[in-house]
């Protein structure tokens, strides 16, 4: 006996905006958890080394940062922290924008602002980490005025 044919459900005004078939949200979800785990290590390590080791927070000055960035290890550490925190944080804010914006235009504007802020901060931060020069010299090879005192030594 053939099963009775069921009519298709009536169409309703409640339309879900259909998505393109992609794994985008899955990778985004996965990234939040992986980057979160790595960030936990990076951030706690960062806080420990900056605030607890040696003189602790009292030893934190221009020279301390200069010293850290003289080492490729801390350059890579800080670079990873910068990129992961910025992408993780921005992706989190993207989620929140998706949640709370009602109109497509508002959504677009906020996401554009978010993307600009992300790119700006990541590019600027990356430049600083790799081009940081604690003892800047002029074309004549002499220290520029205003360079920290430890450069003279």
């Amino acid at each position: 006996m053939a099963a009775p044919l069921l009519e298709a459900p009536r169409s309703t005004p409640y339309r879900r905006s259909t998505s393109r078939r992609s794994n985008y949200e899955m990778y985004s979800w996965l990234f939040m958890r992986l980057s979160g785990a790595v960030l936990a290590v990076l951030v706690i390590g960062h806080l420990f080394v900056n605030l607890m080791v040696g003189d602790g927070i009292n030893g934190l000055d221009f020279g301390f940062v200069a010293g850290k960035w003289a080492s490729p290890f801390w350059q890579v550490w800080d670079l990873a922290m910068l990129w992961l925190a910025m992408i993780h944080g921005s992706n989190g804010v993207r989620t929140i924008i998706n949640d709370y914006t009602q109109r497509d235009t508002t959504r677009m504007v906020l996401k554009t602002l978010l993307a600009v802020a992300l790119v700006f901060t990541v590019v600027l931060g990356t430049l600083v980490i790799f081009t940081f020069e604690p003892c800047p010299v002029g074309p004549d090879g002499a220290l520029l005025t205003g360079a920290p005192s430890f450069c003279a030594g």
């Binding site: 459900p9 309703t12 409640y14 979800w29």
Partner: protein
């Protein structure tokens, strides 16, 4: 019946007394019995039901349509549930009060509502268990359009339900005998077969509240029921539906759904199992 940690936490939130066996007891019923000294009389107590009213027709006489709170005082017994209180109001005080109910015994899923701020079935909550010393608030479930008083439009909820294809999908010839399944195979989705589609979970989810686009826990629970059924062959299609932008990845693991479910389904766990099936592409 042993009480779960979840029941206990709900009891605590509602200001109930929990005895050493972990069972919750309201106080009002007991007090009433000692005051009402008459032998054989059934003790009763008065309680204020604070109900969220909304009627679109109010607009016809020019008054703006706005939901408002209305207090009703009803005299109840220790055996009365929130649904009985609503009946008393509707039958004895204000016949215009609108709400859904059918079975009145926790199986049809008609009367999910927000009682003292949490989603419950009105027919499963004893008034004496939710601190009747204070007004008891009753609101429609959140996130679905209110039609009248406690009645909401369930269509968006059922649309999501239909989209996960909640029916057995098979290929090939009809077998001449039943489709066999081992106890272990059944165990994998047993929990999610218990759903009565009351929408308590979906309408307790903050992600669903934001824009109502999220499929919601109930649709995922009912997809889970078939995805992990060894007799079903439609898992891939359903997983693809829930891989959507509005699918399982919008879940933020707040556990509101598991807390709300009147059938005690571990909703968040079911959602997680669907996420894992998507990540590993294995069921």
């Amino acid at each position: 019946m042993s009480s779960t940690a979840r029941e206990k936490s709900a009891a605590k939130r509602n200001g109930e007394h929990v005895d050493e066996n972990g069972h919750a007891h309201g106080k009002a019923g007991e007090e009433a019995s000692s005051e009402n000294g008459e032998l054989g009389a059934i003790p009763s107590f008065d309680v204020v039901m604070r109900i969220r009213r909304y009627n679109a027709e109010d607009a016809e006489d020019g008054t703006p349509v706005e939901a408002r709170w209305e207090d009703f005082t009803v005299t109840l017994h220790g055996t009365d549930r929130v649904l009985d209180a609503l009946h008393k109001i509707k039958w004895e005080q204000d016949g215009s009060l609108s709400f859904r109910r059918s079975c009145a015994h926790g199986v049809c899923g008609s009367d999910a509502m927000r009682i003292n701020g949490v989603n419950r079935l009105a027919c499963k909550v004893l008034v004496k268990d939710i601190n009747p010393d204070k007004p008891i608030t009753v609101e429609p479930i959140k996130g679905l359009p209110v039609e009248k008083d406690l009645v909401v439009d369930m269509e968006p909820f059922f649309q999501s339900y239909r989209e996960v294809m909640p029916f057995l999908i098979t290929s090939g010839h009809q077998p001449t005998r039943e489709r066999k399944q081992s106890q272990e195979e059944r165990e994998r989705f047993d929990d999610t077969t218990k759903c009565i589609l009351c929408a308590a979970c979906t309408s307790s989810c903050p992600v669903f509240w934001t824009d109502g686009q999220y499929f919601g826990p109930a649709a995922i629970v009912n997809a889970h029921r078939f995805i992990f059924d060894s007799r079903d062959e439609g898992a891939d299609v359903r997983l693809e539906v829930l891989n959507d932008r509005e699918g399982v990845w919008r879940c933020r693991t707040t556990f509101n759904c598991s807390e709300a479910c009147p059938r005690g389904i571990q909703v968040t766990k079911a959602i997680h199992e669907v996420k894992r099936a998507l990540l590993t592409r294995t069921v």
